[in-house]
């Protein structure tokens, strides 16, 4: 027993800088591109624990693709990747504006994080299933899902594939490997593991992918997912998109004393990698590595994408209230679109002129899709799902009490 115990101190982590301060990421160590080893996929996880604390990067400051993780994509695929990211950014800008114009209630954009979902999608096969959060629409854009259907959902109009029942951007697209987004956080992470377990139980060849943000890793579902994935060696890739901010809460609140989010995997014996989330080529290389592990019965991989949420959390959020306005400019990993663009220009595959021209073409395509979607209505104007649709689909067959309520509602 101690005779003179000192008073206990309560610790609440704080970010380095708040509004009014000078953004400072000097405490975020950024390893040189190409400096992290690429182990074979059947590596003993115990021998690559350092990968959970480093950052795998391919594109260097000069715009060259360097190191052992480079070279997973052809020139055409890289050009296509740039187009996907540009499309997502334009799509976001238009939908953000549509929300401001009152055409829908809510929107969430990807600014700064486009590479993560766009590049990841290209490592998947047909039939694989993503269990996404609300900031992975790149999976749909890069997977060829029609933009007009996304917009129909955002507008909750008469062509909304989800009949107006779900909040904007909570898409569902089974044929495109995109599980219905819940809106509750991290619930889908363990479901991805369950889906992967089912695929293994049936001797199938498909893999699942779980997605979560840095803040939502604090949910118990995250822990459950890692336990189940580890125990049953599920064919699943578990992604953590660390964009530094969970609405107004900096990532240190969820991360606690752990060095990184990737390091959470280590106690479960799950190989854990950190990757530069603003580097399209690095994201793809790591996604491919993790997917190959899953497909080869080697089990789960935990991947942390180090990125930055440049925009607000959603249309209901104002980040200037909790972080310096210029913080995104100081983010040391740059902008994913500009970085891939510069790389392609450096290699003689692209030019500023072609970039501008492509931007204009994409804008035209997005506007055309928007016009078509709006011809089917927006949230408060034009065609919309029927009141009858509200009562359908609660069960496979409508039970008597719902039929009575529907009658009462006059439909």
């Amino acid at each position: 027993m101690t005779d003179n115990p000192s008073p206990l101190k309560f610790h609440v982590p704080e970010p380095e800088v708040r509004p009014g301060g000078t953004p400072d990421f000097s405490n975020v160590p950024i390893p040189k591109a190409g400096s992290v080893d690429r182990p074979p996929v059947d590596v003993d996880p115990r021998t690559i624990r350092d990968l959970a604390y480093s950052i795998i990067r391919v594109l260097n400051r000069e715009g060259d693709a360097v190191g052992p993780w480079a070279g997973t994509l052809t020139d055409e695929e890289q050009l296509e990747g740039l187009r996907h990211m540009m499309t997502l950014r334009t799509f976001d800008a238009r939908m953000q504006m549509a929300q401001r114009q009152g055409k829908t209630s809510f929107y969430m954009q990807h600014m700064g994080e486009e590479a993560v979902s766009c590049a990841f999608r290209k490592a998947l096969n047909k039939g694989d299933m993503n269990f996404p959060t609300y900031r992975q629409a790149g999976l749909l854009i890069a997977g060829g899902y029609p933009m007009v259907d996304m917009m129909n959902q955002i507008y909750s109009n008469e062509k909304d594939p989800l009949k107006g029942r779900q909040l904007p951007i909570m898409y569902s697209a089974k044929e495109h490997g995109f599980f219905s987004i819940s809106g509750n956080l991290t619930t889908q992470y363990i479901q991805a593991v369950g889906w992967a377990m089912a695929s293994a139980i049936k001797g199938d060849t498909k893999i699942a992918v779980g997605w979560v943000g840095d803040g939502a890793t604090a949910e118990s579902d995250f822990h459950a997912a890692l336990v189940f994935a580890s125990t049953y060696r599920a064919p699943v890739v578990l992604n953590v998109v660390n964009n530094q901010w969970a609405i107004s809460t900096f990532q240190g609140i969820a991360r606690g004393g752990s060095g990184t989010f990737a390091a959470r995997g280590l106690g479960f014996g799950i190989p854990a990698l950190r990757v530069d989330g603003n580097d399209y080529l690095a994201v793809h290389a790591v996604a491919k590595w993790a997917a190959e592990r899953a497909r080869s019965n080697l089990g789960p991989t935990l991947v942390e994408y180090v990125t930055y949420r440049v925009g607000a959390h959603s249309t209901s959020d104002d980040p200037s209230a909790y972080r310096p306005k210029t913080e995104s400019d100081a983010w040391p990993l740059g902008d994913p679109v500009i970085r891939l663009k510069n790389h392609l220009i450096r290699r003689g595959l692209w030019s500023d002129d072609r970039h501008k021209q492509t931007e204009a073409e994409i804008l035209e395509t997005v506007i055309a899709a928007q016009k078509e979607a709006e011809s089917h209505g927006t949230l408060h104007a034009g065609g919309k799902p029927s009141t009858r649709d509200m009562f359908e689909g609660v069960y496979a067959e409508m039970p008597a009490h719902l039929r009575r309520q529907r009658q009462k509602a006059g439909v």
Partner: protein
């Protein structure tokens, strides 16, 4: 016809369902090698292999969450929560995910899972092994809620639940596992082997969800009950000499309103009985429906007999349990009103 306990009937239901459909998988805490703490899954792993019946980590949210994912893939998981009292960590997965998936995805993804859990008291299980949380599930659109009261129904209802395209909460009154317990805790319970409802066909059959059964026809008063309370109500009727009509609801959601209304219109009196706590219990819903549908036929206020609004106590179990004496008093009061 073979005679089975409720445990054997439930096991037989899973056996039949697994034998007929490769997509049926069974898992939960201790359910694999050991066969479950109540032995409901005994032998299934040996018969169907570890990929069809297996042990799960102690994580109810993990068990239900994984099952939701499996169901969205195309399997039909029939999972066990060791005690209904342990289901709360999985509540978000049940309410926000399993129950809502069909609706929010417009049928692209569905969730045909069965969540089995032993419910109710009478075994000196204290507050963490005795609860009856059915009302927490009947309040959730998208779920079905089933409470069998005997081996014959348990098997048929469980097969129907596994074959159902939507998520089903399957509450097994653990005090009925071995016999039709009527609340007389000081007397030995009759074994199911000596009871008509312990006669259970070996093979496949279903008892449809949403259909109640009249257990004791009567003309004086209708008693609405389910699970253990079906036998308590029957005992109360015999002991008071009141000619009660005892309805075993069997499925709480969707509810067989027709059978209830027809009976109450006939008897003109109604007593609602459940073991769960009184306030905001499922009885409140039943009383509402009875007065909405039968008000001008009623001769007396509709009475409720339920567990007291306390946590389920340990030593005071039989002061808490709404036994035949309390149900009998309610019958008499309702007749005299």
């Amino acid at each position: 016809m073979p005679r089975m306990t409720m445990i054997e009937a439930i096991r037989s239901a899973m056996d039949v369902a697994m034998g007929r459909d490769d997509n049926v998988v069974v898992f939960g805490e201790d359910v694999g090698y050991f066969g479950g703490v109540f032995r409901c899954t005994q032998g299934l792993q040996q018969k169907y292999g570890r990929s069809r019946c297996f042990d799960a980590p102690i994580s109810e949210l993990g068990i239900v969450g994984a099952a939701v994912g499996m169901a969205s893939y195309g399997l039909k998981p029939c999972i066990e929560i060791q005690f209904a009292d342990y289901v709360y960590p999985a509540y978000d997965q049940i309410v926000s995910e399993a129950a809502r998936l069909r609706y929010r995805s417009n049928g692209e993804f569905t969730c045909p899972i069965v969540i089995r859990m032993p419910t109710g008291g009478g075994i000196f299980g204290g507050q963490t092994h005795s609860q009856s949380p059915e009302a927490l599930f009947t309040h959730v659109s998208g779920l079905k809620v089933v409470v069998p009261s005997n081996p014959l129904d348990a098997k048929g209802l469980l097969i129907a639940s596994i074959e159902d395209p939507d998520p089903v909460i399957f509450l097994e009154p653990k005090r009925l596992y071995n016999g039709p317990f009527d609340g007389h805790h000081d007397r030995p319970v009759t074994a199911w082997s000596k009871h008509d409802l312990g006669e259970v066909p070996e093979g496949h059959y279903t008892v449809p969800l949403g259909k109640a059964e009249i257990r004791r026809p009567g003309s004086a008063v209708t008693v609405l009950a389910y699970g253990t309370m079906v036998y308590v109500a029957q005992a109360a009727a015999e002991e008071t000499g009141i000619d009660a009509e005892v309805i075993d609801l069997r499925t709480l959601l969707p509810l067989d309103l027709e059978t209830i209304v027809a009976s109450v219109k006939k008897t003109r009196r109604c007593v609602v009985v459940h073991e769960a706590t009184l306030t905001s219990g499922f009885g409140a819903e039943l009383v509402s429906l009875v007065q909405e549908n039968c008000f001008y036929h009623l001769e007396a206020p509709v009475a409720r007999v339920a567990g007291w609004d306390t946590p389920y106590p340990h030593a005071q179990e039989w002061d808490y349990f709404p036994g035949p004496k309390r149900v009998g008093e309610a019958l008499i009061e309702t007749m005299e009103a």
